[in-house]
Symmetry: C2
Subunit: 364 residues, 2 copies
């Protein structure tokens, strides 16, 4: 079992990573002295595989708990579902010493975290992420939120979990497209911060594709390590943390124009990373174009999209512009200089963005 | 103008206290570099007196702003009103640099603070408290919340304002019962922490009753100072901060059994303080009974209740017991030893509580 410590002063916590460790949850909670009345939040899809090992371990460790099921899907990450969980907590007199456990992917983690952040002015919660994306991304950073009909994650806060238990064994049952979506963020971590990590990924493509637990333990640990270093330096995203948005400017725009149904998050980020690298090349921020080729090849290895054929350039530009209005009229682009190093720049012209989108197959 | 600094590391902020300073708000925001698109949250009662001076000053300082009215009353401190504010913020594309201004008493402050804590993972907010209770109590400590049908403040978080502007001139238009309700908390601050402050209050009863701005500036500053010292030592209420609950165990029970309509908050706390002092006397924690007499006299000077004639002892006990279940089976009583000093004790028998309630006029 690997342990990554996220060092945020009094809000520090650990991420435990290993194969099959869900079934040790009860014991782990005792060991970490996080005892309390437990509420498990999960969805039917995840529950089918992993609820029993979790509850068995809670029972074995002598915990009192209830389970609440949230229907599967991003559309349920809303205030209404949060209210249902509040109601359940209140009806069952969960007090300040309560412990919420989020068993599932990003939706379950974000929703449970939001409830934990706001119930009785904050109760403890443990994340048990069951997707690669949640293990390498949502598990570090403390971003909790629910969606609003007008946009994703508009209601939320920064609230750190007490512990994250990342069982890489769960990745074996993850649909391939979900696994690959997580890999996109893994690739991103290498590209923005750590060339050795990037080369390690390139050397283990086959084992990653198989979600080999040994390799995935290293991958999850590696990504959490990189993301922790960034978040530790800038918890509330006032500066450095923005580099984690590499690939996300165009990525978010693609998700928005397809109403979050056209792309898995990581797939949108993959093509966004390629676009941003091409912008960096045009601006001579990126000195060696081989990075673009390597990135395209790597994305291809994981069936991640590398082009945007058929998507309207105009719609993408408009979606970027909407974000722009939200951020005081400026888009901060994250541009790679070399593998492991990026810069933040607001000096990217709309016409250059259009040009690169066209090059990637965007339509009029 | 007085300034009290609440020192909470990166969450530190200042409380400005003075007569008529609402009309300097625009200028103050510029001076403190809190510029941003402003949303003012208030209610019709407060707006009638103080909205124009506020908006005039915002206009004079060149701010863009909108105003949202929340109906007057505790019953509107709920998620539904919070959602209305979210909708307005989103429709008008308020971004992360937004500035929310809470103009009003505790309801407006708590609701606005909750929205600020959870909109886009946290935007800045300024409190302009217009009741004595909000000026001496809610303005320090960062407790923000909305109510749930099953209980007060069940949904909320700790979130510090960027600045508090306490205009003691507003106290001149405050209904007498509201002023006196605030005075109860002021008395509490003296009793739990500062004998000199307590004696100062005793010496200025007439001017306090008149809400004399000069005296009230000192009172608000004095209370904020005391509360700050406590909150600085224990921001999240894990230990010391509990002493602020002096008078609140029985006080809350009285509010609960009268469905929050029988007592102003401070009135309930006043009689709660007397009851707790009597308990302390019985347990020989309090060595000099003259504290009880002084407290009763002082409460009388502000028409605060000193007895509970006609209220059912059984109901009060039950209400205390409900709180008890929420707090892992123990009631922590705050008991005075002398003026300016209290202890926290869980060693109070139910029978002693009953006895004191009976002594104060409680009925079978």
């Amino acid at each position: 079992m690997e342990e990554i410590r996220v060092d945020l002063g009094e809000r520090s916590y650990s991420i435990l990573i290993g194969d099959g460790i869900i079934e040790d949850t009860g014991e782990i909670i005792r060991e970490w002295e996080l005892d309390g009345k437990v509420l498990v939040v999960t969805n039917p899809t995840v529950a089918e595989w992993y609820l029993k090992p979790l509850t068995d371990s809670l029972i074995a460790a002598g915990f009192t708990f209830k389970v609440v099921m949230v229907p599967d899907g991003e559309v349920y990450k809303n205030l209404e579902e949060a209210e249902k969980i509040y109601n359940l907590l209140i009806s069952n007199q969960y007090d300040r010493k309560s412990l919420l456990i989020a068993l599932g992917g990003g939706v379950i983690g974000d929703l449970t975290g939001f409830v934990a952040a706001t119930y009785l002015r904050g109760v403890r919660f443990i994340q048990i992420p069951t997707t690669l994306l949640a293990q390498v991304d949502a598990s570090v950073g403390g971003k909790v939120a629910v969606n609003h009909p007008r946009g994703k994650n508009l209601i939320g806060s920064f609230y750190q979990p007490s512990l994250v238990i990342s069982d890489v064994g769960t990745l074996l049952t993850l649909p391939e497209t979900e696994l690959h979506s997580g890999v996109a963020e893994v690739i991103k971590h290498g590209l923005i911060m750590d060339e050795n990590y990037f080369q390690f990924i390139c050397g283990e493509i086959q084992l990653i594709r198989e979600a080999n637990p040994g390799i995935m333990t290293w991958i999850v640990a590696g990504s959490c390590n990189i993301k922790s270093r960034i978040v530790e330096a800038d918890e509330k995203e006032s500066s450095l943390r923005a580099i984690l948005n590499y690939g996300h400017t165009i990525g978010h725009a693609l998700e928005t124009i397809t109403d979050y149904t056209g792309f898995k998050h990581g797939a949108a980020v993959a093509v966004g990373m390629i676009a941003a690298a091409k912008i960096a090349w045009q601006l001579e921020v990126l000195k060696d174009a081989s990075l673009i080729d390597q990135l395209i090849e790597l994305c291809g290895d994981f069936n991640l999209p590398v082009r945007i054929d058929g998507f309207s350039i105009e719609s993408i530009i408009e979606a970027i512009y909407y974000d722009k209005k939200m951020a005081h009229g400026k888009v901060n682009w994250i541009l790679p200089c070399e593998i492991g190093k990026v810069i933040i720049s607001a000096e990217v012209s709309e016409s250059l963005v259009r040009e690169v989108l066209k090059e990637l197959g965007g339509s009029k």
